[in-house]
């Protein structure tokens, strides 16, 4: 079942298109990855899919219903977002940060019910950050922070998770930790994930489906990671000199 469907969508800001003719779907229990050079419009597509930006034209469907027909409340009860905004807090524990993800369920003053508490615990354990719960968020390492934010984005028990380059500034070890947590999560919770990422070398392990955006404002290719991630094609997509991909990644 397709959780997100884009049909001939034109996305952009203030009526100025950035990517045209976007058609794809993201399925339940699968990770769909957007790759492409900087400025190709990955974030713009993600924002449109998350309902944070209105498409210029074309149709976006979330669970077979046009995204425009959802109220914010309805939409964000099935969809959760992890964007690139860095969290600047000073005196919040990791638990406090994750707790805010339950916003929709908590009481008028943000009080937690027993269900809230058990969901938070379960999600933090699943991602492997439960032991960080009393640590001050601002003192965590970048890798720990990203995993805490991942936990925060799933405590609302979404069916769809949209993520914008969640691992970009992590080192190789932390990247792998992060994607381990993510793939485990997708398997266990059957969530549809739409993610943009730069880790071409990891994509075969992470993504079930890859959408390649070219720098010229459109989808260049789409399909199975195994087939698409080939040296010649990567060199073409990212504008590299011939042989460079092999030289560095091969």
């Amino acid at each position: 079942m397709s959780e997100i469907v884009f049909e001939n969508v034109r996305v952009g800001y203030n009526g100025i298109p950035i990517v045209e003719n976007v058609s794809f779907n993201a399925d339940k229990g699968k990770i769909t990855a957007l790759i492409g050079p900087n400025g190709a419009g990955k974030s713009t597509i993600l924002k449109t899919a998350a309902g944070l930006l209105k498409q210029i034209d074309g149709s976006v469907y979330i669970r077979n219903k046009s995204i425009g027909s959802y109220s914010p409340k309805e939409l964000y009860s099935i969809l959760s977002v992890m964007m690139t905004d860095r969290v600047k807090t000073k005196f919040m524990t990791s638990y406090d940060v994750v707790r805010v993800g339950r916003y929709r369920y908590t009481g008028i003053f943000g009080g937690l019910s027993e269900t809230d508490k058990s969901v938070i615990k379960e999600c933090m354990e699943l991602i492997g950050v439960w032991d960080l719960k009393d640590k001050d968020y601002s003192t965590l390492s970048d890798g720990q922070k990203q995993r805490v934010l991942l936990a925060r984005s799933i405590v609302s028990q979404p069916g769809i998770l949209i993520m914008d380059e969640p691992a970009s500034f992590l080192d190789m070890g932390r990247k792998i930790e992060f994607f381990d947590a993510l793939t485990k999560l997708v398997k266990e919770k059957e969530i549809a994930v739409l993610i943009s990422m730069h880790e071409v070398e990891l994509i075969r392990k992470v993504a079930d489906k890859v959408i390649c955006l070219s720098g010229s404002g459109g989808i260049d290719a789409m399909g199975d990671a195994e087939e698409l991630i080939r040296p010649e094609y990567m060199e073409q997509l990212f504008g590299m000199k011939k042989g460079k991909y092999e030289e560095y990644f091969g």
Binding site: A50, G51, L52, S71, P72, K73, L75, Y76, S77, L79, S80, V81, M83, D85, V87, T89, K90, F91, M92, D96, V97, V100, G101, Y103, R104, T106, I108, F109, G110, S156
Partner: protein
């Protein structure tokens, strides 16, 4: 558990400090009245004697004013900081208090010239309109430039312009009644009486209630607009609400006490560090109490340091508040690098 205990102890300390300062404020003044006499006057509710008048008409209203308006100012600053997602913001430094001051001064002078009497509610409304206009200007700037430091410089400039115009009006409106206006335009807790208290206490209480009701959203909004939007929060409506509540609070303060500097910007910061928390449900009452205690203390100093000459309240609040703001900016700088 330990953390909660600490917070409870801190709240109790703040309340005790407030009570202590209230007692000292009642006892001190240019006319010496002994503690026994004061107790007697209080017990007998003796409002007719000279000492009774000093107590009930001068000292008590002043204490009540410092408590409520000082707290309101701190709360107003906290809401503005939430709005700008930046702890370096406050009604005085962004020129909002000065905008309110200008409108109140214009209304007062017009009323004196035209000979109609005005009530304190009209003053609050004038101050509210003034602060909304100043806020509007600051917001227009904030849309164009994303830098908080530019915004603050703009706010300070707006403050200077408004103060200059106010000064001009006050200087040339040579009415004997204007003497009070001059004191007020520098900031003082001496001007308001019980009738005014009947206006500002309800407004401040409503302001607190509104802030408390918004606390859950304030917390989520602290993670950024995009994230708050993705929780289904109506960002536009919430931002409008923040500005209105914050403006009403700071306008009320300005209408009765004039512009009081640095309380709004510094006290929420002190509250966060003292309570080591960012939970709005904790910081809202903590900021309010700190604002009250701070204003009681500053008012005491303003009255007693060079008695019988009185300093303007802003002179004293600036001496303590400005270093806090400077340390705050240095702290942020080193964090951002």
């Amino acid at each position: 558990m330990n953390k909660n205990k600490r917070c409870i102890v801190l709240f109790i300390c703040l309340i005790l400090m407030m009570l202590l300062l209230m007692v000292i404020n009642i006892l001190s003044g240019s006319v010496g009245i002994g503690a026994k006499d004061i107790a007697g006057i209080m017990m007998r509710r003796d409002v007719s004697s000279v000492n009774g008048k000093i107590l009930f008409d001068i000292r008590l209203p002043r204490i009540i004013e410092a408590i409520f308006l000082g707290g309101a100012l701190a709360l107003s600053g906290y809401l503005l900081q939430t709005f700008f997602l930046n702890p370096v913001a406050g009604p005085y430094i962004l020129g909002i208090s000065s905008g309110a001051k200008l409108f109140v001064a214009v209304l007062m002078v017009c009323a004196l010239k035209a000979g109609f009497s005005m009530n304190s509610l009209m003053l609050v409304i004038a101050a509210f309109i003034g602060s909304l206009i100043a806020t509007g200007f600051v917001l227009t700037v904030s849309i164009r430039v994303r830098s908080m430091s530019v915004l603050i410089v703009c706010g300070v400039m707006v403050g200077y312009i408004c103060s200059a115009i106010t000064e001009f009006i006050v200087t040339f409106a040579d009415d004997t009644n204007i003497v009070n206006l001059h004191n007020w335009s520098l900031g003082t807790f001496s001007a308001a009486g019980w009738n005014d208290a009947c206006i500002y206490i309800p407004i401040v209480v409503i302001g607190i209630a509104a802030a408390v009701l918004m606390s859950k959203t304030i917390e989520a909004y602290g993670f950024g607009e995009n994230y708050a939007g993705s929780l289904g929060i109506n960002i536009y409506g919430f931002r409008v609400l923040l500005i209105i509540v914050s403006s009403v609070l700071s306008a009320t303060v300005t209408a009765f006490a004039g512009p009081v500097s640095f309380v709004g910007i510094a006290m929420p910061h002190v509250a966060r560090h003292l309570f080591r928390s960012e939970k709005p449900l904790m910081i809202i009452p903590a900021s309010f109490l700190l604002g009250s205690v701070f204003c009681l203390l500053c008012d005491l100093l303003a009255r007693s340091m060079f008695s019988p000459t009185e300093l303007s309240i802003s002179t004293v609040t600036a001496v303590f508040g400005a270093p806090i703001v400077i340390s705050m900016m240095i702290g942020r700088r080193s964090e951002n690098v």
